[in-house]
Amino acid sequence: MNRWLSNVTQALQALNVHRRRSALSVLGITIGIAAVMAVGTISRGGNHLIYRELETFGLNSVWVYRNWNVQDVKLREKGGSGITNEDFLSLQADKKQLGIRNITPDVRGHYDWVSKQGSREVNATVIGVGRDYTTIANDTITTGRLLNQNDINTRQPVVLLGPEIANALMEPGTEPIGQRIYVDGKRFLVVGLLASKSRDFLASIGSAGGQNANDRIVMPYTTMQRMVGHEDIRNLQIKVEDFDRAAEIGDLVTDRLLSAHPVGIAYRAETMASYIETTNKILNGVAIIGIVSASISLLVGGMGIMNVMGTAVLERTREIGVRKAIGAREKDIMTQFLMEAGLISAVGGLLGLLIGTIASTVLANITNFPLIPSPKQVIFALVVSVIVGLLSGFLPARRAARMKPVQALRSE
């Protein structure tokens, strides 16, 4: 331990002799590590943001649709969505057996419907759903109540409003709950106000999932079916008990639908797992590109260290000779020069971490983008910087260690 401390002290003294040169090589590593940190932090931040937004759909969700995208024309012969209220009720009755936690029908209103209150009117996304919808979609209400079974059974003209719709339809300062609004000319009572959901990041990367979740008008699916004049269900949205079984449960549901409608129809099930997998692939790709770029900075930093150590060995050949004459073994000389290279890179690594952390904090404050450094990443960056230093210092150190004492002593 004592010896190591003495080695560190001597390495610091040696580096101190050429402060500017040492500082420049430290800078190379600092930039490299700061870049690695920045890429990792931004990547983790992006990951966190996307997950947070995907959670607004419900991570355990499975969507089941009629599949129109099939080669076999016979499977496109039959009209309608292929999902009926009986199908939904039958699946709901067997949900435990199927591994389903919650299930809701999704019936959509026409895109050109106008919703009004007084002189104010908007085009909203109007959705007819079951009682479990808000649980599946991780929705909460800020005021009022959720839809209940009675609303559904008796086709009540009640709605939940997304916050943007509420703002657009209501006069400022008006409490939405208890207000009456018109959807496609029919009168509805506002019973609940949905909490705001952010899908800005998904929208910013052009994801269809990024559509605004705050401009929804939600009503009982039975009420919606009366409005649209048929009993078709556009799709089923399911929350499964076990995330890992999502795909399998999707298949079970499509099988049940096929057995109920064996002719002229096909179904497809989509899981959040498949979206997450795609998102992860994209994020990993971005992270790999970033890390490769940052690694090039580290490589350049490492070459800087190699250059500095090579020069140091040349300049200090006589010192190496003296050390060998007084009893230093090859590994002692090797350790000494590796210690200097390691110190340059460790100091560079620490500075890089510091700069990376400060830059992340400042950026996070300016942009509101969550930048999340990880302890593992910090350790990894430090280890990488020291390894870069040691690898870069290895060749010069070995050259120093293998010098013949008499030749080293003769050098000027």
């Binding site: 004592n2 010896r3 401390l5 003495s6 080695n7 001597q10 003294q13 040696a14 101190n16 002799v17 006589r318 010192e319 000779g321 003296v322 050390r323 060998k324 004459a325 007084i326 009893g327 230093a328 073994r329 090859e330 590994k331 002692d332 013949k404 004492p405 008499v406 002593l409």
Partner: protein
């Protein structure tokens, strides 16, 4: 202690031009001797000293140090022999510029297993014995030539080696300081230290108990100092 027989060394190769620097050298140095090696430039005296100091190898002959055959030893064993058995004093001092006098003297002990406190106390003791007790924290550039050579001698002696190897130890010093250093060597010799020194000055060689004269790679004369 040191036994050299029919030792030869040449630089270059037969194909190019072969420069023979040592030819069939035979030399024995006993424990406690103070030997001066003299000769004109190119006589091979420094090469012989480097071989004795295990800093250089040779082409033919044998070299036994304390009964061990030196050519058969690997680099680590040679380093260990130098560490505990040999102390070097050079003409140009060869102190490490960025280290203080004390740190320079501590350096050989850094390669031993001595604890830091022991290293420090040994270094301080050696430097104080050589009259440098008030120069412990001075760097070489802040010391006179004589003081630097004393630091180098302290460094050479700090592991209490069996043999002190000195290559022109007074070559960079004025006459008075050189004589002072020689008085110091003489005291060490009187205390039983074996010293092998290369010099080209008769006045300095006169301090040795035996003088070996070389010319053209051969020992041409050896005997008591004048």
């Amino acid at each position: 202690m040191i036994s050299i027989s029919k030792l030869s060394k040449a630089y270059g190769s037969v194909d190019t031009s072969l420069l023979i620097v040592l030819k069939n050298v035979n030399l024995t140095i006993n424990e406690g001797e103070f030997v001066a090696i003299m000769g004109p430039s190119g006589s091979g005296k420094s090469t012989l000293l480097n071989i004795i100091g295990m800093l250089d190898n040779f082409d033919a002959g044998s070299y036994q140090f304390k009964g061990q055959s030196v050519p058969s030893l690997n680099s680590d064993t040679l380093a260990e022999l130098r560490l505990y058995n040999l102390g070097f004093v050079f003409q140009s001092f060869n102190l490490i510029a960025q280290l203080t006098a004390q740190a320079n003297v501590e350096l050989p002990m850094l390669y031993t297993r001595l604890k830091k406190t022991k290293r420090q106390s040994n270094a301080v003791q050696r430097l104080t014995e050589l009259g440098l007790g008030d120069r412990l924290n001075h760097k070489p550039s802040e010391l006179s030539g004589g003081q630097q050579q004393r630091v180098a001698i302290a460094r050479a002696l700090v592991n209490d080696p069996a043999v002190l190897i000195a290559d022109e130890p007074t070559g960079s010093l004025d006459t008075e300081t050189g004589i002072d250093i020689m008085h110091l060597f003489q005291r060490l010799h009187q205390n039983g230290k074996t010293i092998v020194m290369v010099t080209h000055e008769e006045e300095i060689a006169a301090f040795a108990s035996r003088v070996i004269r070389m010319r053209d790679g051969k020992i041409v004369d050896q005997g008591l100092a004048a």
